[in-house]
């Protein structure tokens, strides 16, 4: 009621000063596209978790084999099939790392393993240290991941880029070639390589080189096809830019988001492919072992020695899930329209 009693007189008002210079002022620091994308990525907890897990696994796979006294293929039948034992963590029962197997027998005591010998992930039927073998196997999976990404980036981007940029006849011929390659299942390619070259890392590498980049080349082609008719490219062309400048300054930076997203999804695919081949015995050959081969060996004695399968399988799953989560996060961060 006090409000209504009070009269508002014109002399209570005065014009606000308008500073035309200030209205255009930017109060926040401007973010480039990449800073903005990174900010969005950082907000995505699942993706960051995936990123940390990947970094952790990479570092560990490099460092971990040196932490163990045992090499990849140091056999000693006297210490075969030992369950995991980690000094210091033995007292914590539920971790199951006290050297006691699933029947409750302390295998280390039974087999008279010297007190200074501990196997953090146990040993396999030939007495080889699983810790070393698993982390070396992880290295192979990561090598495949790195390889797949590199092939994607080099062959896929260049092929798709050239095909779209030059268009016309070049595009026609290059796309017919891709269609033929696309029709050949990569399983068939790898099997042909295995037949000529023997199974191993080389045949897997070659098979990936031949088939791995097709998805990427198609995506880059589609992106560049739609970009090259846009006004900003025309403007740049009118100003006399060379083809090289058009590609490196305008087309590629605008495709980079799609490229990164695609390669984060190619990577888990390639890791799976290698593990799958090793699992059916067409991949990495003994004495080297990859995660897929270790899981396959472990499943043979899953009922008696579950530790042989469980550790490599968990690392495999964590790696795959992390790459998928990071891929999802990157896609949301780099291309909010494409959210799936």
């Amino acid at each position: 009621m006090s409000m209504s009693e009070r009269k508002l007189t014109p002399d209570l008002f005065r014009p606000a000063s308008v500073d035309t210079g200030k209205s255009e002022e930017i109060s926040k620091p401007s973010l480039s596209f990449w800073q903005d994308a990174f900010r969005r990525l950082k907000k995505n907890k699942a993706a960051m978790l995936g990123l940390f897990a990947i970094v952790f696994i990479i570092l560990f796979s490099l460092v971990a084999p040196t932490l163990s006294k045992y090499g990849m293929d140091d056999q000693e039948l006297m210490r075969a099939n030992l369950p995991p034992k980690i000094p210091g963590l033995e007292k914590i029962g539920f971790l199951g790392v006290n050297g006691v197997d699933i029947r409750g027998v302390d295998q280390y005591e039974m087999k008279n393993v010297p007190a200074n010998q501990e196997f953090w992930f146990g040993t396999d039927p030939l007495g080889r240290d699983q810790w070393t073998r698993i982390w070396k196997g992880t290295q192979i999976s990561l090598y495949i991941a790195f390889l797949a990404a590199t092939i994607d980036l080099i062959v896929g981007v260049v092929y798709g880029g050239i095909s779209a940029f030059y268009g016309g006849r070049t595009d026609d011929i290059m796309q017919r070639f891709v269609e033929i390659l696309y029709g050949i299942p990569n399983l068939v390619v790898i099997i042909l390589f295995i037949i000529i070259l023997d199974p191993g890392i080389l045949s897997i590498t070659l098979a990936l080189v031949i088939t791995g980049w097709i998805g990427m080349s198609r995506i880059v082609r589609a992106q560049i096809l739609s970009l090259k008719n846009r006004e900003f490219v025309l403007a740049s062309k009118t100003l006399g830019s060379s083809n090289g400048r058009l590609i490196s300054k305008h087309l590629l930076p605008n495709t980079l988001g799609a490229i990164i997203i695609t390669s984060t999804f190619t990577i888990p695919g390639a890791i799976f492919f290698e593990a799958f081949l090793s699992f059916i015995g067409l991949g990495i050959q003994p004495p080297t072992a990859s995660l897929g081969a270790l899981i396959s060996d472990g499943f043979k004695s899953l009922r008696i020695y579950p530790h042989l399968a469980i550790y490599p399988a968990s690392i495999m799953c964590v790696l795959m899930i992390s790459f998928n989560l990071l891929g999802d996060g990157l896609r949301d961060a780099l291309d909010p329209k494409m959210r799936r």
Binding site: E179, I184, V188, R221, A275, I280, L302, A313, M316
Partner: protein
């Protein structure tokens, strides 16, 4: 449309011809002959065997003969058993493989659709998050790990279902389910996104404002329109399933095509390797072609020829 189909079928046969040529010459380059394992053969016996299988002819003649037979659908004889054709081996193996494949894709699509629809309708709820966690795990966890775990827990520990082999309907459940996990995950994710997008469109609002009940709108408008993109992913999914059957058949000891294929590689049984390779390629290319054509028929908005990449 007809022209497009004709063009695609032509390029399909071209691809097959290239694959056949490559496999044929690779096999010829290989060291060793399939009879070397049987060490007790005399020179004349070996010659007679080579003569029987046409291996004494010059390579170009063998190639022409091979293509001629191929055109009639004859894939030749296996070296493993006397007098058995590759065709009969493939037709023996395809039964179990196709059965689990079909079961996996039907079951997987159905469950995936339900999960995806539920997640979209209850957007940002527990159901949504739950479904998406299932989807991420389903995509990320390799089918062989999943199959091994199922075999161990359901088959061995609980003893509910048979661990392996192929003797009746209950033997289908574990392999088909482990194969379908990837399908469930992929379909669920796609369906959720599509549904969310369509739920936000104007024609859904329009349908609701005309007084059509919520259920009818969801079933007749949302779900039907969201299903269209699902068809495109069925192609890549079936390819994944074919790769998957190789492992799953190995784990569950199912006498299918995949198991035979792996075996023939280890035995240097060229005709079976070539035949199965061609058969797989034929299958894959046909699936991709059918999916592309279906897509054009179902969704007239998309012209296949210039369609999405």
């Amino acid at each position: 449309m007809l022209r497009y189909i004709a063009k695609r079928v032509f390029s399909m046969f071209l691809t097959l011809l290239i694959i056949a040529t490559i496999t044929f010459f690779l096999m010829k380059l290989l060291p060793g002959s399939p009879f070397n394992n049987q060490e007790k053969l005399t020179e004349s016996q070996r010659f007679a065997l080579n003569e029987k299988y046409g291996l004494n002819d010059p390579v170009p003649v063998q190639y022409i003969n091979y293509l001629g037979k191929l055109a009639q659908g004859d894939l030749g004889y296996t070296f493993q058993y006397d007098g058995r054709t590759v065709n009969s081996m493939i037709s023996n193996g395809i039964g179990p493989s196709a059965t689990i494949g079909a079961e996996a894709i039907l079951f997987g699509t159905l469950i995936g659709l339900i999960l995806g629809i539920a997640a979209a309708l209850k957007h940002n709820s527990v159901i949504d998050y739950g479904a998406m966690v299932v989807a991420v795990f389903g995509i990320a966890i390799p089918s062989f790990v999943f199959a091994g775990l199922l075999q161990y827990y359901v088959g061995v520990k609980l003893g509910w279902l048979p661990v392996a082999f192929w003797n009746g309907p209950e033997y289908h459940i574990l392999p088909a389910f482990s194969l379908s996990v990837g399908v469930i995950a992929t379909v669920a994710r796609f369906m959720r996104t599509e549904m969310l997008e369509i739920l936000g469109t104007d024609y859904i609002l329009m349908a609701r404002s005309k007084g059509i009940s919520k259920n009818a709108v969801i079933l007749k408008h949302c779900v039907r329109n969201s299903m269209i993109p699902i068809i495109t992913i069925l192609g890549p999914l079936s390819i994944g399933l074919i790769t998957g059957t190789l492992v799953i058949e190995n784990i569950f000891a199912i006498p299918g095509l995949g198991e035979q294929f792996v075996k023939s590689i280890n035995l240097n049984d060229y005709p079976v390797i070539m035949g199965t390779t061609l058969f797989y390629s034929f299958l894959l290319i046909t699936i991709i072609l059918v999916v592309d054509i279906l897509y054009g028929i179902i969704d007239p908005r998309i012209r296949v020829a210039g369609g999405k990449s």
